[in-house]
Assembly symmetry: C2
Homo-oligomer: 470 residues x 2
Amino acid sequence: MKSSHRKSRSVYLYEEVYNYIQTRMERGEWKKGDKLPSIRELSSILQVHRLTVFKAYQQLKIDKKVTVKDKSGYYILDHSPLITLQTDDHIQNAFLHKSTLSEIHQIPVKFQFSQALIDPNLLPNRYFSEYVKKVFDLYPKVLGTYSTVQGDEELRETLANYFRKKHNLHVEPEELLITSGSQQAINLIAHSLIKPRDTVLMERPTYSAAIDIFRGQGANILTVDIYQNGYNMDIVEQLMKKHKPRLFYLNPTFHNPTGYTVPTEQRKQLVELAEKYKCLLVEDDPFHDIYFDKAPPAPLFTYDSSGYVMYISSYSKYVAPGLRIGVVASRQPLMKILLTAKSLADNGTPLLNQKMFLHYFTSERMQQHLEKLRIALQIRKEIMEDALSQSELKWVSPNGGLNLWVKLPSNIDSMALLSKCVEQSVSFVPGHICDSRNQLHSWIRLSYSFASEKDLKEGIEKLCYCLRTL
Amino acid sequence: MKSSHRKSRSVYLYEEVYNYIQTRMERGEWKKGDKLPSIRELSSILQVHRLTVFKAYQQLKIDKKVTVKDKSGYYILDHSPLITLQTDDHIQNAFLHKSTLSEIHQIPVKFQFSQALIDPNLLPNRYFSEYVKKVFDLYPKVLGTYSTVQGDEELRETLANYFRKKHNLHVEPEELLITSGSQQAINLIAHSLIKPRDTVLMERPTYSAAIDIFRGQGANILTVDIYQNGYNMDIVEQLMKKHKPRLFYLNPTFHNPTGYTVPTEQRKQLVELAEKYKCLLVEDDPFHDIYFDKAPPAPLFTYDSSGYVMYISSYSKYVAPGLRIGVVASRQPLMKILLTAKSLADNGTPLLNQKMFLHYFTSERMQQHLEKLRIALQIRKEIMEDALSQSELKWVSPNGGLNLWVKLPSNIDSMALLSKCVEQSVSFVPGHICDSRNQLHSWIRLSYSFASEKDLKEGIEKLCYCLRTL
């Protein structure tokens, strides 16, 4: 046993005692003015060391939740029963669940560079609508019928064939789970595989909502920096060896937010490391088909022979965002665990959405749409880059995906810039919310996929103007 | 501080130590044949009492995970790293998540009395399909557009008006969250409000999947028996007073599985108790409109003036099951917490499904459909009751809902009957999975809503035959 266990356990216990007290305060069991049990008393009740209770009491004091009266003990200063909580801060403290990205998306602005979504105008809406109406005739009872928990068999067979054809990847329909978008896939994986204090590796930066999800499960997050040419593999191995992470959540292809792609050689190594150190790789791959130059390397999942990779794919992002169809590929027995989570989460994705997705996904028009979409997105990227070139901002031009990852001059804080920009009706994602360490304050993510060509130009000009005023 | 704290905390600590060891075994950190740290050593590392470690080691011995060698200590007998888990049992032990009901539903039978779903043939599929196609013309970009996290505003306004008109219930669109079915609503509530070892009240019997959800969150479940005339309110108050439950999950109208309805007087009392003891009432109300005689009492939610009731409604069950639309009504600040959970769970229910639901829900045809559906379900109920009357089974004829709650002769075990029945291609829900205490072995739930009239008769005859052979 190593001494690191001691440390982590001790931190945990003191927090547990803190939470124990706070919970009772929140619920009004222990009220303002009440005296806390003595340290000796509580340490005996909770069967923990007195020092642990002492540390918890000290922290409560620092947080102004209790006060010390000389020689007579600790008294409760404040209590905030759940039901009367008024401010966001309180709620977040009480539950530790938050969704930072979603808060940023809710800022109402005209020049929306924070949403990594496809502009609905780039989708063949009219054609698509007419086309999918046929689904009602093909499956007359589709509106009255539940899907199975795992997802429509016809759709899973189609996707299994598609994986085989596209990546020469052999996956059975039973190894696929249909989800309501890739967000749900990440959430199901976190809920079913992560227990509090499990260690999780995440790229730095990474998808902000994934940080919130894993943190909400109580995971201990360690970061792996991502560079233009991938990871420092020695560091990845050291982290896996030393910390035995439960899983590594990664987005190796046109990575969000940087746009970087992890090279083939590292993909193979990662799968070997995963097996060696029993660390699952959760490969989130929503941008595989959104390339501008040449197709990216094959997914890590194709190199996996022993079930250490779960592969999340979400064609719906560019095929039909409104349908919210995602898919997770996983070998047994992990699929069984995901199925249970899915059955408790929503009992299965609506059948209608699956059938409509299937119908359009297999149409000829879909491939044509995809080719056009790539060109349209590349044009928007170039418009954004042109508009940015007047500034002193720096970025690596991505070969695919939906975002630019932009370095601000180091004296400029992204939040200061964001509040300036919001005044001009421009929004973006500040870098620190993509970093589980809450750093990267001089980076921002600009999505070029959602705003129109005109708005891209105008919005970036406004952003550059804000920069100059800072 | 009461002594009950001591007990629950001590139980918890020993389980924590057990889990600590088991996790390390699962991950292969501690392998078969390895010697465990001495009790003294581990108690120092984890800062817990030696007796706690001793209890954990004893339990590991009972579970055949370690063996004791005289004078030399505890040795690991077996280790089951996650990835090589083979059997269901192992997985369930490792994750404590399960979905019992979903396992029963997966039994392939002809006479399906386990699904409390509406037979798709009772829905106006053709009309509905034609009707909702208009949605594509009304909202041409619906397939390319994401919903907000909270749900389509037009739908929330319509539902708020409907609540007002129907129950004289004043609820703002901002107090409604659209979910993907009521199952998701329960899951979001559990994930955002329940922490491990929180106490939750549930009816006995109750909806099986709700037990799995709250148990999966680590809740300590206490039961409230439900009778034909409601609850024993003294017991409800005692439980709230003594155990300070976080919430009471209840289904007071045509209760699943019993069909009972809690009377108005008790509804008012419950809301008062909830406020007095700061115990949220989570009112699950999917069967409100499925009545045979007269409309049931108003929801508890209508009596709540201080935010202690969350109301889950799911018209989609009988309007359009395939769309999977549910709704939760909740006052602030709890709505804010649910929104965060929803944003992390799936970023919002698909817009298409919401618009289709809205469109049909507000149509005249919907009300006509509902009246016809009530009659059709009542006829099916009576067919099932007629077929059952030849047996010695006993039940209280329900005034609404989709199920009969049937008492077997006390010498007959529901699981024995179920295995006999499955041989005859008949399935039902055994009572014990609706009971968080895992008792009620001589009760079964028979749903009359899914099988056709012919199958109802034939299937119940087979069930009665199986009964006689036991």
